[in-house]
Amino acid sequence: MARRGKAAGGPPLRARLVLLGPGLSYLAVLLLLPLALLIGYTVFRRGRFGGIAYEDGSTGENFARITDPLYAGVLTDSLRIAAVTTLLALLLGYPTAYAISRLPGRWRTVALVLVVLPFWTNFLIRTYAWIVLLSSRGVVNSALTGIGVIDRPLKLLYTEPAVVLGLLYAYLPLMVLPLYSAIERVDPRLLEASADLGARPARTYLSVTLPHTLPGVLTGCVFVFVPSLGNFVVPELLGGGHTVMVGNLIRDQFLNARDWPFGSVLALALMAFLVLLLMAQAWAGRRLGGR
């Protein structure tokens, strides 16, 4: 760390203003102010034709609605869907990252690039490709009926598993990348030492590799969980209106119900939850890092 304000020579206040000022004021105006606004909106009521009715303060009312079984249900559904997605991403992503780290050097980059490459074409189009695959006349059903496994098309599309699949597809690379860099960073000498001491590969993995990669696991899980939780496009396209997540709920409060105060409450709830999650991750990361 470069900790040397004293040696700067010139007036440090000016340097500080020039360097920190623009970025921080930008964030103050276009990040903190909007978030403060959302907090402010929660105490007002919806205007009759949308917008905000400033005259009717009713702080408790908007927050009370979130405990309503309907909205609480959507929140828990969203948490479950995001959690299942994250778990699947981990189950598939960890062995994938591990496999990449075992490749010969020049192939590793290629393998990694191949994981990220689909990211560079439009997210909505890629999601739509799944509709083509999963619909009752789609590729999967045609193949299954073709080889006689089933005689009637399965209902794959517009289900919760389809939503999980779509989210997994969208965010799997965000799991693989941090896992790879964590696995890659495990000092090979540690592995050698373990082997020299007579540990079998499985034992080496459990007592050396796994503990050292847990911070990467945490990062990957947060990277997948956070965007999955707030996504509203995948539930809309692959859920066909049968699956509602908190992202859809927020969007609908702003567009359909034109109920900005309640939409703000939902957004803040989502944010509060994620802040807790990040704090937990930072805490766990420190504990693991201290090993």
Binding site: L17, V18, G21, P22, L24, S25, Y26, A28, V29, L30, R46, R48, F49, G50, G51, L70, Y71, G73, V74, D77, S135, S136, R137, K155, Y158, G240, G241, H242, T243, V244, L249, D252, Q253, F254, L255, N256, A257, R258, D259, F262
Partner: protein, 362 residues
């Protein structure tokens, strides 16, 4: 420095200093006087409409007829465009196409320029009934563009019977289970259940809404999907056999597909053209509406988009062959008026959104 950065951000954001580079100056007072002699060639018109809801070469024809160049912006749904028009001081949109109840809500928020009837002489072509619609009596803020109703669009060959009730959709026979779609947009998602139960499409009665919800929840289990836009393709491919549909979007030119308005009744929806108060091209905006209402133009529009237009002179000019393949086009206004007008519900809208959430999440 930090003050300068903040100021720069704010300056970029403030109305009139934005990318358009046109200085502001149109206060509320500007609506009072429009210049009928204004040089329209100096105005640039921007019109927002749904995708595929007007002929592709309408802008070019308008420009050559009137002189004002015109660009088209597209919106996906009423909700999207209303959110944009509400959030933005100057959206850059001069004329927007929105459904009647949304025109009502925009007018209530003071965002619309009153229609200057003297600048729209072709208003006389409008069906007199179209000036008495509940969302805007007397066409104060909006001019009807199309109107129609909602019904059942179905595959004659695959269904085996002619549906005549909303219950054919809500309590489907075995052959229809998993092969029916309903409209997704809030008010029309409610409509089949409201009409099947004999309620108004504008009901705000809690008990009625609770029963509507129950019915929608049971119906959901047998549904393929909620679908506003692709039910025509699904019917064509046979993935769906029955769909709740707006009349103009039921592809009855396919001989296997039929359209029926259920016996319990339906709605009368209107899509309208409105002029934004923030528009800086109000004369051209009026000229555009007047151009559309021209009998020849409006009938050309109808024959392109297959929706009825509330324009008596234009409907008279339609090709009889077209009326034959699109029977819904031939519906008489009196018949249409049996449907109930959809109006904005103000505060009750939240109850509707809540029920939609309950139904779809349930």
């Amino acid at each position: 420095m930090s003050v300068a950065a903040t100021a720069a951000v704010l300056a970029l954001l403030l109305p009139g200093c934005g990318a358009d580079g046109q200085p502001g100056g149109s206060g509320p007072a500007a609506s009072a006087s429009l210049d009928p002699e204004a040089d329209l060639r100096k105005q640039r018109l921007t019109v927002s409409n749904w995708d595929g809801y007007m002929p592709k070469d309408l802008p070019a024809r308008f420009e050559s007829a009137v002189g004002a160049p015109m660009t088209v912006a597209k919106h996906g749904t009423n909700e999207e465009i209303v959110a944009k028009l509400t959030a933005s001081a100057d959206s850059g949109i001069d004329v927007a196409f929105v459904s009647g109840q949304y025109a009502q809500a925009l007018a209530a928020q003071g965002l619309l320029e009153p229609i200057h009837h003297d600048l729209v002489p072709h208003l006389r072509n409008l069906d007199p009934l179209a000036a008495r619609l509940a969302h805007d009596k007397g066409n104060v803020y909006s001019v009807p563009y199309t109107w129609g109703t909602t019904g059942l669009c179905y595959r004659k060959d695959l269904l085996g019977y002619t549906p005549d009730s909303w219950n054919d959709l809500l309590k489907p026979r075995a052959a229809v289970k998993g092969r029916a779609t309903m409209l997704k947009t809030e008010r029309w998602l409610f409509l089949p259940a409201q009409k099947a139960l004999g309620y108004s499409v504008n009901t705000t009665d809690e008990q009625q809404l609770a029963r509507v919800k129950e019915l929608l929840l049971t119906a959901k289990d047998d549904l393929l999907a909620y679908d506003d836009t692709t039910f025509g393709d699904r019917l064509g491919s046979g993935e769906a056999v029955l769909a709740e549909a707006w009349d103009g979007w039921c592809p009855t030119d396919d001989k296997r597909i039929g359209f029926v308005v259920p016996k319990e009744g339906s709605d009368l929806w209107t899509d309208t053209m409105v002029i934004l108060k923030s528009s800086k091209n109000k004369e051209a905006a009026h000229a555009f509406i007047d151009y559309v209402l021209d009998a020849k133009v409006h009938s050309w529009v109808a024959s392109n988009i297959f929706y009825k237009v509330p324009n008596t002179a234009a409907m008279a000019e339609l090709d009889p062959a077209l009326l034959k393949s699109y029977p819904a086009l031939a519906m008489a206004p009196e018949q249409l008026l049996k449907g109930e007008s959809v109006v904005d519900l103000g505060d009750a809208a939240t109850a509707y959104t809540r029920i939609v959430t309950e139904v779809t999440a349930g």
